[in-house]
Amino acid sequence: MATKKTKSSIRPLRPGSGWTYAPAPESAAIARIDEQYELFIDGKWQKPSGGSYFDSINPANEKKLYRAALANEKDVEKAVTAARKAFDKYWKKMPPAERGKYIFRVARLMQEQARELSIMETLDGGKPIRESRDFDVPMACNHFFYYAGWADKLEYAFPNRTPKPIGVAAQITPWNFPLLMAAWKIAPALATGNTIVLKPAETTSLTTLKLASIIQEADLPPGVVNIITGAGNTGAALVRHPGINKIAFTGSTAVGKLIQQETASSNKKLTLELGGKAANIIFSDAPIDQAVEGVVNGIFFNQGHVCCAGSRVYVQESIAPIFLQKLKDRMATLLVGDPMDKNTDIGAINSAEQLEKINYYIRLGKKEGSLHYENTATLPKKGFYCRPTLFTKVAQSSRLAQEEIFGPVLAILTFRTEDEVIEKANNTPYGLSAGVWTDKGSRIFNMSKRLKAGVVWANSYNLFDPTSPFGGYKESGYGREGGLHGLSPYVTF
């Protein structure tokens, strides 16, 4: 009787190890990628006035994918002038129903080229093809369809008021959902009658440039949408330009703060969608197996490069051991590797720089004494990869629980009571999203009222819909994108 097991011991499983899936790669040849891309200004592809270009690589294998034009201040000037001209000459005068037709046309063209768009998104950014195929691209199309419908119904969106477009909108998008963020920004701006200069993130310009060619194909009046590529300097020049009436930025809190300073002395309207450190809260009465899945989707979706990622999990102490075992067993089944393989769950980290930042936090977590667990996948030799990782016994005061890592790294904390977890969940400078897992309806309502987060998901996580507004509290930014609310930042009365 020497090895009698204690009552609380949990027998481990070997999930996912009974069958390996043969490679099932999507075909890269479907994407027609040019060697070099110019700037899309005034309806034409124009060479950058500085004559310089920058390379973009495929993070999955570090091979060069294409080169894109580097826009300088002169190009920004050209783009803003073109947008202003288009606003005065065509777009603000056009009957709203006509505007709607153009947006519907863009949506349909995107849908027709959905496969190519998703392959491009995966090659350029490193996200699994399953996600770009099933989430990014269809959701981007849906945003265009949704806002196309609003174009001629704005008087119903703002009853008894007369909404008018603001003018020229400067839009800056991040590298985690390049096409989707472009859609979130372009669609409502066009529907409300504004013209646009948009700059995608420098590591992921490809699908935005493809979208420019779709917009050209849809025959939008020249200058209504201008796409300029480049890094931080290009973005700064765009933000500073006096001809801009409205800025929409999605990206890091640090850059968001700079933009806010920059625009403080102007009357440019500003919306910011910044970082997050969301709490995903699991009560003891939760549907545990589905909660495990929600936690996995919350943090490992898009390699954790999600501003609303559920990066802090609060699990009630009474179920913590079994919850952790289930989570680890589920993590063991996650397939890490080539993003173009249809079976890949976790693709490539977007850049070497981001991978280094994630690894810094993993080293820090180990040093801080949190218990570390990671999936055992063999990583490809070339490219930027990180195994799905979790830390348990993380303290509220640990940096792992406080700072945004933006990678597949999960911090697990425990709690005892409802009040305690609300206090802990709100104890962060961010406030973008939260998740609540419980079988008790009244608790969901109580929690969603008291959690300081723009979105609270109940028994689900990372669900999006064009009709639903999205945005943050505190240092996660302000303003809403999506839904009826997403029209407000682009109108004046």
């Binding site: 070997r14 190890s17 069958w19 043969a22 099933d134 197996d289 899945e293 075992q325």
Partner: protein, 306 residues
């Protein structure tokens, strides 16, 4: 060492986590996104064949029909060398002797439905007699049905005692407990019935009789697999799983195997622990195997209809 099931029902046997149907459906949708190709597809197809309980449960079943089905179980498609046999033949008790004789000397098991299959609407004594008869005739496995009416009335102790009694009547035969999930109405009840069956001594839990729609579905099977997993986490004892009814294509069977692999893992990827209750699945798998071997699909006329 096998634990003797507790003879007494305890309400704590029903205590389990809540089930969120939307979440279950999202999870099962993910399994269907796995792309199974080349060698892994062939491996999956062959494993599927080995996991089939080739079934005939009809009023018109005769000695001739059962003998032909047994021949098929042993000779799935002799034109291809090296094909495995199915796991078992599943018949009514009156055909167990015929099947046993036809399968003599092979590793194919004989499973028999019992306990007033499919409705289970009879007295316990008759159900026990039905079970003993099937076992005496030579059944290796007994597929019993639970009393769904009693379950829905909340008579959990009754259902528990019935399963425990049938288990005792099975002797050495393995007991599969059919929950008939299509009559249970919610995934919470599927979970509850699975726990009850396991606590009462089930060796296998099985979704359906095949006589009620819906029969096996991915969500229902996932909830049952997760119950088996929780039982294993707690006790270290493995329980088998048998989805039955409605699985007639290889593609769907492979989705079930993906689900099994990613939920319970390597130890369950074996006919001893997982079965497909099906009558027409085998031929569909054979057609896929033919396609993998020859590079093109063959007409259904090349495969025997049994």
């Amino acid at each position: 060492m096998k634990k003797i099931p507790p003879a007494v029902f305890k309400p704590s046997m029903l205590a389990g986590p809540a089930i969120d149907q939307t979440g279950v459906e999202e999870r099962t949708a993910r399994f269907t996104k796995r792309s199974i190709k080349a060698a892994s597809k062939m491996q999956g197809l062959l494993l599927t064949l080995r996991m089939i309980d080739l079934t005939t449960l009809e009023g018109k079943d005769s000695v001739g029909k059962v003998e032909q089905l047994c021949y098929k179980a042993l000779h799935l498609h002799d034109a291809f060398e090296g094909l495995p046999t199915v796991a078992a033949i599943c018949v009514y008790p009156s055909h167990v002797r015929t099947a046993k004789k036809a399968l003599q000397g092979s590793s194919v098991k004989v499973a028999s439905v019992a306990t007033a299959f499919p409705s289970g609407q009879s007295h316990l004594s008759i159900k026990l007699a039905d079970t003993r008869f099937a076992v005496e005739e030579g059944a290796d496995e007994i597929d019993m049905v639970i009393s769904r009416g009693k379950f829905l009335e909340g008579e959990f102790a009754y259902v528990f005692d019935e399963i425990a009694s049938v288990k005792a009547a099975c002797g050495a035969a393995r007991l599969k407990v059919i929950l008939e999930t299509g009559e249970l109405g919610s995934l919470d009840d599927v979970r509850k019935a699975s726990q009850l069956a396991i606590a009462a001594g089930a060796d296998f839990i099985k979704t359906s009789t095949g006589k009620i729609q819906p029969a096996a579905t991915l969500p229902v099977t996932l909830v049952m697999l997760e119950t088996i997993r929780d039982h294993y986490y707690k006790t270290g004892t493995m329980i088998g799983m048998k989805p039955a009814g409605g699985i007639s294509t290889s593609k769907l069977a492979l989705h079930y195997l993906v689900m099994l692999n990613e939920t319970l893992g390597a130890d369950w990827m074996d006919p001893h622990w997982f079965r497909f209750g099906a009558s027409s699945l085998a031929n569909n798998v054979l057609m896929q195997i033919a396609k993998e071997r020859e590079g093109c699909y063959q007409s259904a006329n090349y495969f025997s209809v049994d």
